[in-house]
Amino acid sequence: MSTTSETLGTEYRGLKNPWVQLVAGIVCMAMVANYQYGWTAFVNPMAAKNGWGIAAIQVSFTVFVLVETWLVPFEAALVDRYGPRVMVMIGGILAGLAWVIDSSATTLPMLYIGGAVAGVGAGIVYGTCIGNALKWFAGRRGLAAGLTSAGFGAGAAITVVPLTMMIASSGYQHTFLFFGILQGAIIVIASLILITPPKTKPVDTTPPRVLQGTYDHSPAQTLRSPVFWVMYVMFVLVAAGGLMAVAQLGPIAKDYYVDTFPVSLLGITLPALTFALSLNNIMNGVTRPLLGFISDRAGREITMFWAFLIEGIGILALMKWGTTPVSFVILSGLVFFAWGEIFSIFPSTTRDHFGQRYATTNYGMLYTAKGTAALIVPLASVITAATGSWSAALEIAAAMNVIAAVMAIGVLKPVRLWDNKQPVPEPVVPAAVPAS
């Protein structure tokens, strides 16, 4: 069913147009992108001005990532209760405040406080916008979640040049202050658009190949469901496998003597390793909406199966055939292409199975799998150090993806079908307060 303006009912006009909601969410996501992707531009100027060590400064980024990832379930619970508008507004204010703090930080503890505040703000915005996109679209959840999460990377791509130029011309403190206020203000303005969808009827129908759950799971019911834990394990396997592959890209390129060799593709010439890393960002952005869209049509589990299988095969192919500069760039692009979709397929599957009412909280809980995966990744360095080569770590990464692929059709789908046959429990959680 289409959702063009002609086919929308009157209850879905204006702010209630799902596409308006989606664009507002993407704008908010773009405005928190710099907290992750733009940070690196500030590190050296901060070190030069304050005489801080790079490692000490990067603790602030670690604080940001930890807070941003692990607090999402709690923030999301508030979103499901109070609605997206007020929460994103708070998130925007905190995100803006964080860089205002950073602009005047004269001590490292103050910088770490800025990192924590940024983590809370960005986490609220991220969790809310993904959750809201899932709630507004029934037939295009994969696409909606994919476009929203792609906005996270696209925002950095748009602002990285002016941000870097301002640091060079006006100093990092002014840039923190200017972009902090600007980003915070845009999020606050965009938050005024965000609302939860009306409960009347879905804006479009769920596609026949996408398996749906039978009732709205509360967060507690979700945590008791084997489906959640199967998805959690799969998310960790794929996220950790992808992160391990990315971490080994440099060592592979150096081992194959391709890292500095110039590669010309699509009219662009760059050293092979630089090319591959640039392709990482592009592929990561493209694959989220694209495979999200495909999963809306073909079904989640089958899309997961092929994506994770291609990822596993891609890693092995990179190891075996990435020995020339061109094949190295193309195969690393394939690896990144098959990896980025976890941020669109997992949120949409969460919504499919666990329902609408607590979609934000339920995905927020699953999202912590990204944090768990990050804790596993250092094991790759231990394996590499123990074996003296990256090949064992990459073989494990490939195996993790293949296992996740097999789990998608061999475990996840049967468990979901079994779960759907279980009796619907009595409602035990009070209804969420409808938010405007």
């Binding site: 060590g53 490692a55 003597y257 391709v258 890292d259 060799f261």
Partner: protein, 256 residues
């Protein structure tokens, strides 16, 4: 007489006991971090400096560039750091203005008699030539890889693949790479500072394929003996230090 002798001896002991430890405590200790491939030259420079400055004791650590950067970054005890310019650039906020001290470039070394019949870079891809190279993560391996990839830009990527087929030894340490030359390998790409006519024949690499790296020395801002640290850095980058570096086949620093 006995009493005055006893008094004089006691006084002498007391004076000696109080003076000797004071002198030892007064000796300035410098913690100096040096790139490992400059170990031999800097061992001599430090010896010369200490001979001229008996009140200074230098504790050198010969380390990889990344380790030096990490130690400076983490505020580990260090008064002077000497490493590649790109390494010190990363830590410029924690260092006084670095001074260019030397340049190094790459050469091919072969055992005497040249069993692999190597006459230039291109010959390293010839079938049957056995190569000893640094691992890609080591300084000597990274630079060798860049030289080989520059060659491939002219001769095609098959050159790289044929060179890789010829690698029989890969080691982290430059000394281990050189040790394999002769018993196990026919050639290596290494720093010009490793040239030793008594052991190896040297084959020059054309400048268009070569990689010249500049090394710098800098006083660490957090040094508690900044004046002495600066004096040592000036000595190492001055006429005596440069002469020693030249003796060990390093190139002079780039003109200012």
């Amino acid at each position: 007489m006995k009493r005055s002798f006893f008094f004089a001896a006691t006084l002498a002991l007391v004076v000696t006991a109080s003076v000797v430890p004071t002198r030892a405590a007064d000796k300035v200790q410098l913690d100096v971090l040096i790139a490992s491939n400059a170990q031999h030259a800097f061992t001599e420079i430090i010896k010369d400096y200490e001979a001229k400055h008996p009140s200074v004791e230098i504790k050198p650590q010969f380390l990889g560039g990344a380790t030096i950067a990490k130690m400076v970054d983490e505020g580990k005890p260090a008064d002077v750091a000497m490493a590649g310019s790109t390494i010190l650039k990363r830590e410029e906020s924690l260092l006084e203005k670095p001074i260019d001290i030397l340049q190094n470039k790459e050469v091919i070394l072969v055992p005497k008699g040249n069993p692999g019949k190597v006459t230039g870079l291109k010959d390293l891809a010839n079938p049957g030539v056995k190569l000893s190279l640094g691992t890609p993560s080591s300084a000597v391996g990274t630079i060798a890889s860049q030289v080989i990839q520059k060659g491939a830009a002219e001769w095609g990527f098959d050159f790289v693949q044929n060179v890789r087929k010829n690698i029989v030894v890969q080691e982290d340490k430059g000394s281990d790479v050189l040790a394999a030359l002769g018993p196990k390998a026919d050639a290596t790409i290494t720093f010009a500072s490793d040239v030793d006519p008594s052991k190896y024949q040297t084959i020059m690499i054309d400048d268009k394929y070569n990689v010249v790296s500049t090394y710098q020395i800098a006083v660490v801002k957090a040094s508690k003996n900044a004046a002495t640290a600066k004096d040592f850095a000036d000595f190492a980058s001055g006429p005596v230090g440069l002469a020693t570096l030249r003796k060990f086949n390093y190139l002079p620093p780039p003109p200012k």
